[in-house]
Amino acid sequence: MGAIAQMLAKLEDENLIAEVEKQLSEGVNPLAIFKECQEGMVEVGNMFSSGEYFVSDLMMAGAIFKQVGEIVVPLLGEENTGKVGKVVMGTVKGDIHDIGKDLVIALLNAANFEVVDLGVDVEPGAFIEALEANPDAKILGLSCLLTTAYDAMKETVEAVKKAGLNDRVKIMIGGGSLDQSVVDYTGADRFGMDAQDAVNIAKELM
């Protein structure tokens, strides 16, 4: 791992920003810097999965990655960052919680997914419109914290099937109180135990 990836993995935000600015001033390719940041995020994900890092560390890493992205991404121009896929995400109707959803989006972005974020309290119809407007989206991510929102998840899954999108789109769900029983109840394809698990599942579903 290069210096940038290591600093990100160690959550050394100030050192990292200084290093990024130094490398840019020395003419290092912004895409190479961006890819090294992604490498650092992969390491953060691995450390989370192995129990060395916790949710607060993921949030910190996501914030640092975003900060670097604000510097580097505008410099990428037409260069291809090699997006691995597109995901439509939102918190389902009746639920306004967004922390879990936003953390998953931050990690998906870092893993080079393009994410269409529909926000919170999203009607099933709005998910369908977004999937139709983004024919290259192969994954729908549904989030909820409330058990009372399971029905909205189920309704959304049914709407996807009714719209004939279920051949193209796989549905992953996540949130506070979820397990396989909620997958069975809603008809979704998979559930993520945590934000890193959601990224792993998204990769598998592509």
Binding site: A63, H97, I99, T148, D151, S177, D179
Partner: protein, 376 residues
Amino acid sequence: MMPSKLYLERLEKIKKTIALENDKPMTSYLGPATPAAYMGVTMAEYVNDLDKNLDVALAYLNAINERTSVDSLNSGALGVKVNVLLAGLWLSRVKMPGRELPENSLWQVEEKKVMQDEDYDLVIEKGYDALVQKIFPQIIDMNELQEFTIYMEKNGANNVKKIIDNDYPIINSGAAAPPFEMLCGARSMTHFFMDCYKKPDKVRAAIEAMLPRMIENMIGAVKGANGMGTWVGGWRGASAMVAPKIWDEFVWPPMYKMGMACIENGIVPTLHLDQNWDRDIARFREFPAKSIIINTDGLTDLRNARKVLGDHAAFMGDVPPQLLSTGTPQQVKNYVKNLIDDIGPQGLFISSGCDAPANAKFENMVAMFEAANEWS
């Protein structure tokens, strides 16, 4: 009027369970939103009409109790304004059904930064009260707060009497959130977690400035209600949520001090722990033996906790909310039976993991308590 024989028997059983001297598991109810749908009342009516809230909740409890014994109430927060209660715990605005949310929606906490960067200096220099005075008008209608205060002065004691008259002892008469949780609510989780990394000195000083008054308020509230215990809650400070360096400095020491202050004042702290606390569960051994209740939500491994803590503490929990919402009565019974078989009945309160959800099936609630009461 003296409490009934049944009430006194249940009260005695609570004490024995905390001391791990009980033979059979105790049952304890926690479900502030659960009665509304089953009793045919809109959520808006249920949470905004406090007299109705108490009556409907008691009718629901009695409907379960006709089938199988509900030995105790985890929380006495019936007939209270949930948005006022939660705003006071977390310094966050709570959106309410029939107001900001549809009639039958559950109330929901708004995740928004209401404590600004400079407010750290306010609380450090002028204390907890100054912070609350600045934040409260942003998160609650002060007229509603005043109306609720007047309601409680007029009706609070009578409402507790009604609960006692229905033979339900209340384990927790109060609810307190340690400073970590309150700052997390006021700053919003993302900002506050960043604060813990980026400005730990400010976080440390704010916690030190807040804690004495928060302890004073917590003890005063329970003594004022002549209560047995209080929640000392942990939600976002869970081991699975924060790095060890944050937990060791900002989560555990204030939580421990609050718990110890309860114990020193003859109050039983119920450590209400949402999310997963496995990493740090051994730290709860620092409390005196048989003086606390550890109340978990299904994500902390109680089997491991019993191995680690032995007979040091009573447990309360931990039927997962999704099981109560989507499972069958037999699945719920299996879960409860397996839990009791595995960790034993001593020092065990069978309850929902955190609140029973608003859409918990009535038959599942009955099954949860039946499994505990029928266990042998």
